[in-house]
Symmetry: C2
Subunit: 362 residues, 2 copies
């Protein structure tokens, strides 16, 4: 283990996340359940059916299906819409999860061709959609756009894109991996946002902090088809309860904390932006997340942060990515951890970071 990671692990406080991804996350969930409770069985049974109904209601859709992963749920959603329209084309952002994190599953398994909309460094706008020259079955919007720090279009743009898609017969799918996290910014309910979309996927191990798992919602005809595809993908497991129970448990604990995380993300981004050579993207967060860009090479940042971790007991990040032109960046997602840090200690740590960057970074 590097000195940097070791120093991070030993800090008393962490800026980001809901805590270590350890087995305690599952143990705590199960402490609330009687051992006699029967498992779900290939998508049937109390545990899975009740959670699906709960989330369908929360998201304001007719029906919901629990999936082991969002990768599986979203490829399936796009496949269903493509089959329905008889067009094997969809559109999404160039930095969509499907394009950069799934080993081209959509192309290799479903033979669906994506059309990449917008530039890499901004979100999809109405004009991008109106400018489409080819027929597509489905447009996928990711809210917030994670790979550019979690940016969002304004709500009017969403409404306009939704209306345009409805008019043109294009299905609109929401990659809502971080849907709960954007509700405070839009000041909308989840159901109000989902109303603009034909199908929606949400995740339970981002802001919610569960172990793994996803829900896909839409009308019943859509979700019934998704169950067939779930079996084809090998996702219709005999038991999914470890993921369902933890999703449910942490959903109840954290879904109403998203406003707190959002406020804290803005506060924390403020601290960062006051430091020499640091800017956040977006400069004012619109969810619980943002990216930190430091105008210094990775090795220098690593040295500086390691010293700060050891001196202050506050862990800023567990990893660093090399950016362009000798810069360094990382992602921050606020969870339960941030609120536990004493304000004075936090200010001191940022003061130290500012000073060290001034000393070390030209």
């Amino acid at each position: 283990m590097s000195k940097f990671i070791e120093a991070y692990k030993q800090t008393e406080y962490k800026l980001a996340g809901n805590g270590t991804r350890n087995i305690q996350v599952l143990k705590e969930t199960l402490e609330n359940w009687d051992g006699e409770q029967e498992s779900d069985l290939y998508g049937k049974g109390k545990i899975i059916e009740e959670f699906q109904i709960k989330l369908a209601n929360y998201l304001g859709k007719e029906s919901a299906v629990f999936f082991p992963s969002g990768t599986m749920a979203q490829q399936i959603a796009l496949r269903i819409w493509c089959d329905e329209k008889g067009i094997k084309k969809v559109a999404y952002h160039p930095l969509s999860h499907l394009e950069i994190h799934e080993e081209d599953g959509l192309k290799e398994l479903h033979h669906i061709e994506p059309i990449l909309l917008a530039d890499k460094d901004r979100v999809i706008d109405l004009e991008d959609v109106m400018g489409l020259k080819e027929d597509i079955a489905c447009l996928l919007l990711e809210l917030p756009q994670r790979e550019i720090g979690g940016q969002l279009p304004d709500y009017q743009t969403l409404e306009a894109i939704s209306a345009h898609c409805k008019e043109k017969g294009i299905q609109l799918h929401l990659d809502g991996a971080r849907l709960f996290e954007i509700l405070p910014y839009y000041e909308k309910s989840a159901a109000e946002i989902c109303e603009l979309f034909d199908s929606v996927y949400v995740s339970f191990y981002k802001g919610i902090g569960g172990i793994a798992g996803a829900i896909l919602v839409g009308n019943i005809s859509f979700t019934e088809k998704s169950k067939v595809w779930k079996r084809r993908h090998g996702g219709d497991l005999i038991s999914l309860y470890p993921y369902i129970l933890s999703s449910d448990y942490y959903f109840d604990q954290r879904v109403d904390k998203m406003n707190q995380y959002y406020i804290e993300a803005k506060e924390l981004a403020g601290y960062y932006n006051q430091c020499h050579g640091i800017s956040t993207l977006p400069s004012v967060p619109v969810s619980n997340m943002f990216h930190v860009h430091i105008h210094a090479p990775k090795e220098e940042v690593e040295t500086v942060l390691t010293e700060i971790y050891l001196q202050t007991g506050i862990g800023f990040t567990s990893y660093l990515r090399e950016g362009t032109n000798g810069t360094t960046n990382y992602e921050v997602s606020i969870g339960d951890m941030y609120g536990q840090i004493p304000t004075e200690q936090l200010r001191k740590a940022f003061h130290l970071l500012d000073e060290k960057l001034k000393e070390n970074v030209k």
Copy 2:
């Protein structure tokens, strides 16, 4: 709930299985682990890597990959072999899991055409393989052939098929969902049997009694490709530890009990075959499993069994399937439950079953 199922649930003893599929199965696993233990992370980390090495060694192959399901693992194995050979054809039994339980995932996702070998009511023989008129990339053998009661070819046939495939450049894949269960009959180690195959899948929720999960083994080039496909399928979850830890825990507990289960299966099949109007398939089991065929309609069998459950406290089966010509059948897989039944009580129950069938069944 039907009276039949209710009566079954209330019996003190069950003939089949390792006990109820309830949450206690996971709770017991986790009691042996410190909450501080870190999760696996997208296929990396101590928990997943150590179990993969353990199973690769046990199965005598270079490398192993943990999958959430066998459905996913096997489609991927066949896809890799098809891509390698440039032939989109495989051969397997007409009652293979891929053919009847996976909603045609192999065809719909991978566009692989299966050639069905042998008749439905017998296992694949060397002559079936030698008689193949088309080029195939891979032959899949399921040992034991579950849908016909868990039948096996003799070991010489296996060796001959393996040698033939090697000669013809056909990859040989083992559907070893119940591989551990057949070792006592063949009197071979798992590694000795796997030696005959290029790739092998094993399951952890049949005889082993875990929650879910599968291992796929082969050479490193094969397993590395399988990891890419696992991500494409949506099976490369951020955390698979609930399945890995339970697979490991119950593997250690039960893998050496397979001989006991096998002996008990033969004993239990003997009891059944002494009853009026009942025969088992196979008549002498070759693993821990067999099918029970009763020459009476489902409703009559249900009535008879419900009475026996209530009178004797022994549950024979939790479900019944309608067979052809007014017959009824169900599957039995021996696990930990069988050994707990007092012999006298068991004999009485079978005596009662015999009498009731004589009375009721012409």
